[in-house]
């Protein structure tokens, strides 16, 4: 069914009777051409592009809970293409371009809002690094504008410019950066994949990966065995556990990242703002809640909940940057399990098992990657060749030292990225 404004009006006039299910709930078949483990953003977009770009539709996405219940529905929704290291640059640039046509492509309003992202800097050294980054972004074909202090004040007059511990020197403005509605992204891809014949199987946990003579032959699940010629692992925070089913030990650590939303407020923050002297980034959702987050909780954990010290740390940074938010009330907090990689960048690659593919290591930044990750992973699974925008995401780069993409420069200490 095609969605449109007219359709909304028509259904309104006729009692909303015409809307069908957004996706089916099929029972799993015993055999598929391909199985995608994980019904998060990346798994769903992979299935969508496999069907749309490569005509492969005999696919199942196996999700242990409900579709979109993992990190795709827990993030702070920032979408940007402001990476500066080769490998990342071209990938996120590719992703942003896919975002820019996503609503029309999916026929689903994911509310991708290019409201502009401003990264603040607070010292000469930080400015120099942002100038380097901004130039890399433009060289890549993306957009960046250097703002001085007064430039920042024009956009963000509510920041504390006078009584601050770390004065605001300026900011790097990325006008095409912004946010999107996270659930809608999952649902839009799910609906698109389902419409093209992909089976989305919920409440179906993969418990084993079947391998014969070095080839994958299928998976074991809580809803029975499913055979498949190719299997893609796209399980974010659970990557190490699922890859272990195929005898792999991934260089991934799972950590908790918390996020927060306040009660609804009338528009007050129009951009995405990120603080350079404390981990803090914030935007305001279309519903009016301030959505923000900060650092990892620092210890490896699968608990999907955070602790108070990091809550305080995040709020302190927020209040230091924009003391007008003191009377905004935090409504909810939650945690997601982050698949932290040694260089802070992801992997989209084959594995030592033939027919088994891996997509992981998204850290705290895989939301913006959802379109390109699915697009490139689908390409890899369908053609066995990496997509040109994702040639850098090799699993062996840690062994060879070639093409490491440590944007933060913190090294193979997962919790510091």
């Amino acid at each position: 069914m095609q969605y449109s404004g007219l359709r909304v009006i028509w259904e309104g006039l006729t009692g909303q009777k015409g809307w069908g299910p957004m996706w089916r709930d099929p029972a799993p078949k015993t055999t598929y051409d391909m199985v995608i483990i994980g019904g998060g953003g990346h798994g769903l977009s992979t299935a969508y592009y496999l069907a749309r770009e490569h005509g492969i539709t005999n696919i199942a996405v196996l999700e242990k809970g409900y579709l979109g219940g993992g990190n795709i529905g827990r993030n702070t929704t920032i979408v940007r293409a402001n990476y500066f290291l080769p490998g990342n640059s071209e990938f996120y640039s590719h992703s942003l371009k896919l975002w820019e046509g996503l609503e029309q492509d999916l026929n689903y309003n994911v509310m991708h809002s290019q409201r502009g992202l401003i990264n603040l800097f607070h010292s000469d050294g930080q400015r120099d690094a942002f100038v380097r980054r901004g130039n890399a972004m433009i060289n890549q074909g993306d957009d960046a504008i250097l703002l001085d202090r007064e430039g920042v004040r024009r956009y963000l007059p509510y920041l504390d410019f006078d009584n601050t511990r770390f004065p605001i020197y300026g900011g790097l403005y990325h006008p095409r950066g912004g946010t999107a509605r996270h659930d809608a992204v999952a649902w839009g891809y799910a609906r698109g994949a389902d419409q093209r014949g992909v089976d989305l199987i919920q409440n179906c946990e993969v418990t084993g990966i079947d391998i014969e003579n070095g080839r994958v032959t299928g998976v074991q699940t809580t809803r029975g065995a499913i055979r498949a010629k190719k299997v893609g692992i796209v399980v974010a925070g659970r990557s190490s556990q699922v890859a272990a089913m195929a005898g792999m030990r991934l260089p991934i650590e799972s950590h908790v990242l918390q996020a927060f939303v306040t009660e609804g407020l009338k528009p007050v923050i129009d951009h995405v703002v990120s603080f350079g002297m404390g981990h803090f980034y914030i935007s305001q959702s279309d519903k009016g809640g301030l959505v923000f987050g900060g650092d990892l909780d620092f210890y490896a954990s699968y608990a999907a909940r955070g602790n108070l010290p990091m809550v305080e740390h995040v709020m302190e940074a927020g209040m230091a940057l924009m003391p007008m938010i003191g009377k905004a009330k935090v409504l909810r907090s939650w945690g997601g399990i982050m698949d932290m990689s040694p260089d802070g960048s992801p992997m989209i690659d084959r594995t030592h098992v033939e027919g088994l593919y891996l997509n992981c290591g998204w850290n705290y930044g895989g939301f913006k990657a959802v379109p390109a990750s699915g697009h490139c992973f689908a390409h890899l699974m369908a053609t066995d060749r990496p997509h040109e925008a994702a040639t850098g995401f090799r699993l062996d780069r840690f062994a060879t030292g070639r093409g490491l993409m440590d944007e933060e420069g913190t090294g193979a200490q997962h919790n510091l990225h």
Binding site: R165, R181, P323, M324, T400
Partner: protein, 982 residues
């Protein structure tokens, strides 16, 4: 204005009158009132507008779960949006405004949305606003944003002060109703250290809102007496106005105390709120229960309240929400409301009970098997239509309707560790499930024990269990007599009738939306919530979640437990961000670290700069200097000409001692340290495990087993932590002790041709070149006996020393050095001049040590010794890290002397387009060199060593700068290093 709806009784102080304003209109109330009770007493039912349809709303509850009566409290910078009128304690002079309406609460233009409701269903926005693509940011989104949101922030800096504190106790009791009071009393009498926290300003919980008795007292009277006894126990801390917001790991609870929210404004110095981190041995959750509504058409009008709230207003606040009322209840508790109101002389026109077998009606009129099927009254309820069991329709004129669909135990905090509540058929509600926070147990209504006796008994039992677990003797005193009525309920979730029936009132989620979600296959609870926004309003689903879930269960034909439940997350009620931040904001966000010469530098009028947590002198302007460059150039030139002094205390200093100290250094540094003789220092390069350069600095051997390491300012903490990790985790067998001495020593660099001459005037020992050669290090004394450390090292490329004295002598030393330096025209220089001199010498610093570069990139590849193993050595030799065409550190000079350079610019070949393929690297640091008379820079250039002498462009696309440059050696000044050894 008269308090037209005030009746007798209640716990308000009628001897005093408060004046307050709501939307500019003045009213009277009393101490003990909330804003909502006072407005209701004045006959005001309309207090807000809903989120989506802008429906007129009044309070639905009398507590913190209130979804409708949200107002902006106070004005100016203290304006607080989304304040629940139902818990806002009235004070004299209070000012409140309604919100999310325009132009006024009574006439809200956006209530047109309500007319358009047939289109604005759940999730309609996912299906439209897609065309044309460019319209989203420009047209649709701005309109949506403006219509959305509730109250407004003032956009001014929050002027209030917030505080934080820690508390420790054996037992934390959350909630001061009968269960919590009894638990506290039992544990308190047994001598346990107990904290009793309650969000209300008056302890007693439901007892304050009820008429029943405990023993021979009224419930409220018993509560008051018990609180009085508890107040007399030194081991019990009573914390009213304190909300426990979350259960975190290891028995840590967050709690927010509202210290001054009930005052017009905080007294000077008084915090508005305090965040308490409570470390509790055990916890009893006695947080009570929350009533839930029933879905029937137009069940959201001002004047329709939960039945328990209706009687709370009457019993606790002496307010008749309406003079003619009805009650709609599917359980016996709703009848209490009818009886209590009738006893207060309020006209109860009917009790509508869908059950045929409800309790005895007494003198009340019961409509058994009945349901409310319609309501009227645009800005406040005027009538309801009731369908009797026999199907007869009847219209009743009422001002208020009390609705009870049953009570949900407040299990929220039990699921903060993601434990799922379980369904209890008997009370038709969720009760705490297994796997809650360790050490926490629920009691009273929170545990599903909904009678007063049940609350007292379970509170006592919980306390006894805690006492026993903690090895304390507690006695089970005889419980006072209290009602023990069973929960008689027959679930009724929705009234089958055309029309819109609200589930989540604030977010305007109706039964139709749940149906639509079902139709579109959003049937899992989480999908239901996310698609319809059910439970995402400011009440966090406290009023609507279970109802919505139950209706979904009816639609799918599954049971409620099969349908599931969403779990609750902190905070229990929304918390001001200011409270969670406390005092760490503004200038107090992070502490300042001041150097030992700070006072002196301030006297000199130095300009300071933040370097991490430090404040360092950036330059020292002299009279007549109008531009910072004049000061910096002078400092550089004078240092190189004669002598300059700089405070370098901020560099990390780590004392390393033990018989294995040398071997330890050999492992943590990439270059060899085993051969360093006593009395010498050496430049050390430290790699990370992944082979990337981590830090650099000099380390001196002060004695056989004594070393002093210096680190960069930026990495001082990180390196220390790294060394601790190595020592404790990697090589626990090594005999190595380390201590950070960064704060213990004041250290100054003395550099320039006259450095030795100056130092000779204060150092007591012989420091001639022979006695103290280049890279010498040792303990000396200065000024006639003060112990000091001296290192002959140089960052500036000059003959230079660093001299360190115990920090308390730092101020004296700078003054002495300056005084003695007069004869040499010594200057004191700041970080800018330091930076200029290090770039002139091609030394790497923060911008080059950016955590992404190898020793090879820096031109220091030879320093990584392969003769020994050290951290990072193996991985630094990975094939991808030793490529010849990799980045190399180079120097950069503009071809034309007046050409400008900017750090961060990228290298492009001459004539090449700025695209990634042509990108050759970037400029890391740029300074103006007064010696070369032009801008100079360092940079990383692909294959840079082979490009020395070539020309390229340094392009900054952000500023439009495009300068032709020559690639040179990074050693701009004195490349042979002759001055060093002078």
């Amino acid at each position: 204005m008269s308090q037209s709806h005030r009746i007798d009784g209640g716990q308000i102080d009628r001897s005093r009158t408060f004046r307050f304003r709501f939307d500019g209109v003045g009213y009277n109330g009393h101490p003990g009132d909330t804003l909502a009770s006072a407005l209701l007493a004045n006959g005001v039912r309309l207090m807000g507008r809903s989120f989506k349809y802008h429906r007129p709303r009044g309070p639905m509850t009398a507590g913190s779960e209130e979804p409708n009566a949200l107002v902006e409290l106070r004005t100016g910078a203290r304006q607080e949006p989304n304040t629940r009128a139902t818990v806002a304690e009235l004070f004299d002079g209070m000012r409140a405004q309604s919100q999310n309406r325009w132009p006024s609460l009574r006439f809200d233009a956006l209530s047109v949305n309500d007319r358009l409701n047939t289109f604005f269903t759940a999730g309609f926005y996912y299906k439209t606003f897609m065309w044309p693509a460019a319209f989203w940011e420009k047209v649709y989104e701005p309109i949506i944003r403006r219509a959305a949101g509730l109250g407004s922030l003032s956009a001014k800096h929050d002027p209030d002060v917030y505080d934080k504190g820690f508390l420790h106790c054996d037992l934390l009791v959350i909630g001061a109703g009968p269960a919590g009071l009894m638990a506290t009393l039992t544990a308190g009498r047994a001598g346990l250290r107990v904290i009793l926290a309650d969000e209300d300003f008056r302890m007693g919980g439901r007892l304050n809102a009820e008429t029943f008795t405990i023993g021979d007292q009224s419930g409220a009277g018993w509560a008051e007496a018990t609180v009085a006894e508890l107040a007399s126990l030194p081991n019990v801390r009573l914390m009213p106005r304190t909300t426990v917001i979350g259960a975190f790991d290891h028995g840590v609870y967050g709690a927010v105390e509202r210290v001054a929210d009930h005052l017009p404004e905080p007294a000077p110095g008084q915090p508005r709120q305090i965040l308490w981190r409570i470390y509790a041995g055990r916890t009893v959750l006695a947080g009570g229960a929350t009533e839930r509504p029933i879905a029937f058409p137009d069940n959201d009008r001002p004047g329709i309240l939960l039945a328990g709230a209706l009687r709370a207003y009457a019993n606790r606040w002496g307010v008749a929400v309406g003079k003619r009322v009805a009650v709609f209840t599917n359980n016996d508790d709703g009848w209490r409301t009818a009886h209590d109101l009738a006893a207060k002389g309020i006209e109860v026109v009917a009790v509508i009970d869908p059950r045929e077998d409800g309790p005895e009606a007494g003198s009340l009129r019961a409509i058994r098997g009945g349901e409310v099927v319609a309501t009227k009254g645009r800005l406040g309820l005027t009538e309801i239509t009731v369908r009797s069991g026999k199907g007869r329709l009847e219209t009743l004129r009422v001002e208020a309707l009390g609705v009870s669909g049953g009570w949900n135990p407040n299990v929220n905090i039990t699921s903060h560790h993601r434990s799922r509540p379980v369904w209890d058929e008997d009370i038709a509600a969720f009760v705490p499930g297994a796997g809650g926070p360790p050490g926490l147990m629920a009691a009273g209504a929170a545990a599903g024990r909904l009678s007063t006796h049940g609350a007292l008994a379970s509170g006592q039992a919980a306390a006894l269990e805690v006492a026993e677990a903690l090895g304390k003797q507690a006695t089970a005193d005889t419980l006072p007599q209290a009602e023990d009525a069973p929960v008689n309920i027959r679930p009724l979730w929705q009234v089958a009738k055309e029309g819109r029936a609200w589930i989540d009132q604030q977010n305007d989620v109706t039964v139709k939306d749940v149906k639509l979600a079902h139709q579109e296959n959003f049937t899992s609870v989480e999908h239901l919530k996310r698609y319809t926004t059910l439970g995402m309003a400011t009440d966090q689903g406290k009023t609507g979640n279970v109802l919505g879930l139950a209706i979904m269960a009816e639609l799918t034909g599954r049971s409620i437990p099969e349908t599931g439940t969403t779990i609750y997350r902190p905070p229990y009620t929304p918390v001001a961000m200011g409270a969670l931040a406390g005092r760490s904001r503004g200038r107090e966000f992070k502490p300042f670290r001041l150097t030992p010469s700070h006072k002196w530098a301030t006297e000199q009028g130095a300009v300071f700069v933040e370097v991490g947590m430090w404040l360092r002198a950036q330059w020292f302007p002299r009279p007549g200097e109008t531009h910072w460059r004049q000061s910096v150039d002078r400092e550089v030139l004078q240092t190189r000409k004669s002598v300059g002094i700089c405070d370098v205390t901020t560099l990390g200093k780590i004392d390393i001692q033990g018989t294995d100290a040398g071997a330890f250094l050999n492992r943590v540094y990439a270059n060899t340290f085993a051969t360093l003789p006593v009395g010498k220092c050496r430049y050390g390069l430290m790699l990370r495990e992944d082979g990337i350069v981590y830090d650099d600095g000099t380390t001196a051997r002060m004695g056989e087993n004594e070393y002093v390491m210096t680190t960069t300012t930026a990495n001082a903490v990180g390196v220390f932590r790294h060394l601790e990790y190595c020592r404790q985790c990697l090589w626990p067998d090594m005999d190595v002790q380390i201590i950070s001495t960064t704060e213990a020593w004041a250290q100054f660099s003395v550099a320039g041709p006259n450095a030795r001459n100056l130092l000779e005037k204060i150092v007591d020992q012989d420091i001639s070149d022979a006695a103290f050669p280049y890279m010498g290090a040792g303990n000396v004394t200065v000024c006639g006996g003060l112990r000091a450390r001296l290192f002959r090292i140089s960052f500036s490329g000059e003959l230079a020393y660093e001299i360190a004295v115990p920090t308390r002598y730092g101020d004296a030393l700078i003054r002495r050095l300056v005084a003695e330096g007069k004869e040499f025209d010594a200057v004191v220089y700041g970080t800018e001049a330091l930076g200029v001199m290090r770039v002139e010498k091609g030394h790497v610093a923060g911008n080059e040590l950016n955590g992404q570069t190898t020793a090879l990139n820096m031109g220091l590849g030879k320093m990584v010794s392969k003769k020994k193993d050290s951290i990072g050595m193996v991985l630094s030799q990975r094939e991808g890290m030793v490529t010849e065409d990799g980045l190399r550190l180079v120097g950069v000079k503009p071809v034309k002397p007046d050409g400008k350079l900017e750090a961060g610019s990228h290298f492009l070949p001459i004539g090449a387009r700025p695209v990634l393929a042509n990108d050759g690297g970037w400029l890391t640091s740029k300074v103006y060199s007064p010696h070369l008379g032009c801008d100079i820079a360092l940079g990383y250039l692909k294959g840079g060593t082979d490009k020395i002498g070539q020309r390229m462009r340094a392009v900054n696309l952000l500023t439009g700068l495009d300068t032709e440059v020559e690639i040179v050696s990074p050693h701009f000044f004195d490349p042979e290093g002759e001055r060093l050894r002078g």
